[in-house]
């Protein structure tokens, strides 16, 4: 009887060893296949500004309380308009910095006089919530120098970006962390 028991245990061991070998092989094979397409650096999420339609979902769907998506200004593209349609309401009472004239709900765009007739517009990222209202305004009548980007000093880089799931234009994509921004007018690829 003890003889038989011993035999049984060793058979069980053999089976478990075999299964373990198969598991190791499977895991090793998977890792081997994956290894050919592994990169040392991380990937990060970014918005392709040429696909973005400024729908406003970025402001609401980020996992952070205040979205990591902010408006970014490419000054080289900007027309420095006095009547900036990204800054002003469609029919402003006056072309001044009065809150009632501004399009931005948080007053995150700073307007400053440069020289006649040019004005400079800068984004205060502390205030910006990424709603994209100014982006739509600038694209409608201006040069489109205002656009949305994920700011990586804020973004927590979720494995599946919660905004990308609801983005209607498919503008969210993973990019290499060594080139984390897609600046409008400077893509040149």
């Amino acid at each position: 009887m003890p003889e038989k028991d011993k035999d049984k245990i060793s058979r069980r061991d053999f089976i478990s060893n075999t299964i373990r070998g198969v598991c190791l092989l499977g895991l090793g094979g998977t890792l081997g296949l994956v290894a050919t397409r592994t990169q040392a650096g991380d990937t990060v999420w970014q918005i392709d500004p040429n696909k973005c339609i400024g729908c406003g979902r970025c402001a609401d769907h980020c996992v952070l309380e205040i979205s990591a998506v902010k408006c970014v200004h490419n000054f080289a593209m900007c027309g420095y308009c006095k009547l900036c349609t990204g800054y002003f309401e469609p029919q402003p009472n006056a072309l001044n910095t009065g809150a009632e004239n501004q399009l931005c709900p948080t007053g995150a765009i700073r307007r400053s006089f440069v020289e006649h007739p040019y004005y400079e517009y800068e984004i205060d990222e502390e205030l910006c919530v990424g709603c994209g209202k100014c982006v739509v305004g600038c694209n409608a009548f201006g040069n489109g120098s205002l656009f949305l980007q994920i700011r990586h000093d804020v973004c927590v880089n979720c494995n599946e970006c919660a905004i990308s799931v609801v983005c209607p234009s498919g503008a969210f994509k993973r990019v290499n962390a060594s080139k984390p921004y897609i600046l409008k007018g400077e893509e040149g690829e």
Binding site: V34, T43, G79, E115, N139, N143, H152, N159, E160, A162
Partner: protein, 429 residues
């Protein structure tokens, strides 16, 4: 100098415009107001580009994962200390959960690995591969010590186990089929590049980030409340990574045991496991003929191909419905309805698509391709589910004899709760 800068940027713009000439792009078609040339010598401000977090932290995470796995294994198998595991659980919850906000985690990494295998355009960060592989390798040798005290999702549920009630065996084992389905769908949707459902419906991530969708917060809260009475409901009845872990654990070389020495069959540990992972000794039935079980076993083995065929058939049927989870397929359907005049107004997605100027036919071809992938994918998935159902039924009909109280290697998460119930343990100390 400024003039030169403008000229260069103008030239760059022109080149880009030419590059994009074949795919008309609205962004570059509007240059209504030429950038001014300032007389006052105004210098354009620089567009700031804050860099992403350094890779260093990612590798720190991998290091902490390795250390935590090693410590968990030591505490569970060698030291046999439930207190130690509990402290490590709290550490993992704080580090991987609340500080690192639960991303990237081993559970979700399954999808990254899948998409790497199926989509050529995706390259996977090394850290994600480490997060996928390390727990599996550890489990293959030491059992599910990852689940015990390293996984933040397990950790948050583990500390909520207050008054566990017994789930009837049949219900428990029945519900444990769900993770297979979940894993299957997660793999299918990741392989087609449609969605990462494990991340999207992660119930506890909203707690870790202190914010998230209301529905997910509610779902997570419900699971935690349920978890007070039914231990680790997510781990047992949902976790897709747990499926892979359980395969590895079943073949593990070493594994936690209830008793440090010989089982004396005192039955004290019988009710100690809140996760239904202790197998009782089998009753010896003296007079059951061997042939009875054999007949059923042979029938099931013969039926196995039928199960697989049924799965494949089912998969073929639901494939096109499943494909609608892909945003491109949904968009194509919408565009088709608009093109054929069945819907008048555009929604955001179709408006965005029209703005790109891509021809609808291109999108339709893409959607058709995706649909085909989904049909094949869900047929394979169905086949696998049929196979697993068959194997499960066969394994239920195989007679196993157990003399002692043992941990069920598939389901045991190595939490160490049963240690203190064993009188042999106390004796040794």
């Amino acid at each position: 100098m400024i003039y030169g800068y403008c000229k260069i940027s103008g030239a760059v713009l022109l080149i880009i415009c030419l590059l994009f000439a074949f795919a008309p792009n609205y962004a570059f078609s509007v240059q209504r107001f030429p950038p001014p040339q300032f007389k006052s010598g105004h210098v354009l401000p620089e567009t700031t580009q804050a860099p992403p977090r350094s890779d260093f932290y990612e590798y720190l995470d991998a290091g902490v994962l390795l250390a935590a796995l090693a410590v968990a294994t030591y505490l569970a198998l060698k030291r046999r200390s439930r207190t130690g595991l509990l402290i490590l659980t709290i550490f993992s919850l704080a580090y991987f959960g609340f500080w690192r906000m639960g991303c990237v985690c081993a559970v979700g990494s399954v999808q990254n690995v899948t998409i790497t295998l199926f989509q050529t355009g995706y390259s996977i960060p090394l850290v994600v591969v480490i997060f996928f592989a390390l727990p599996l390798i550890f489990t293959l040798f030491f059992g599910r010590t990852f689940c015990a005290a390293v996984c933040p999702l397990g950790a948050i549920q583990d500390i909520f186990v207050i008054k566990p009630v017994r789930v009837p065996r049949w219900l428990d084992r029945g519900l444990r089929v769900i993770p297979y389905l979940y894993l299957g769908f997660a793999v299918l949707f990741a392989a087609t590049g449609s969605a990462f459902i494990i991340c999207e419906y992660d119930p506890f991530i909203a707690f870790f980030r202190r914010g998230g969708r209301a529905a997910i917060l509610a779902f997570g809260g419900l699971l935690l409340i349920l978890g007070m009475f039914v231990g680790r409901p997510y781990c047992r009845y949902l976790c897709p990574y747990g499926v892979v872990l359980s395969w590895m654990s079943k073949a593990s070389k070493w594994h936690v045991s209830i008793t440090p020495n010989e089982c004396i069959q005192c039955r004290l540990c019988e009710d100690s496991c809140p996760f239904e992972a202790i197998d009782s000794p089998t009753e010896e039935k003296a007079n059951t003929p061997r042939t009875e079980g054999k007949g059923r076993l042979i029938t099931l083995i013969i039926l196995l191909p039928l199960f697989i065929a049924m799965g494949v058939g089912l998969g073929a049927g639901v494939g096109s419905y499943l494909s609608r989870i892909d945003p491109d397929v949904r968009l194509a359907e919408r565009i088709w309805l608009e093109d054929t005049g069945q819907i008048d107004e555009m929604d955001d997605a179709s408006e965005a698509f029209r703005k790109t100027g891509r021809p609808s036919s291109e999108l339709f071809a893409e959607a058709k391709q995706l649909r085909r992938q989904f049909r094949i994918g869900s047929m394979i998935l169905g086949g696998f589910l049929g196979l697993f159902t068959g194997i499960k039924m066969i394994s239920l009909s195989i007679k196993r004899s157990r003399k002692d109280y043992e941990t069920n290697r598939t389901h045991c998460v190595s939490c160490g709760r049963c240690f203190s119930y064993c009188p042999v343990e106390k004796d040794e100390k």
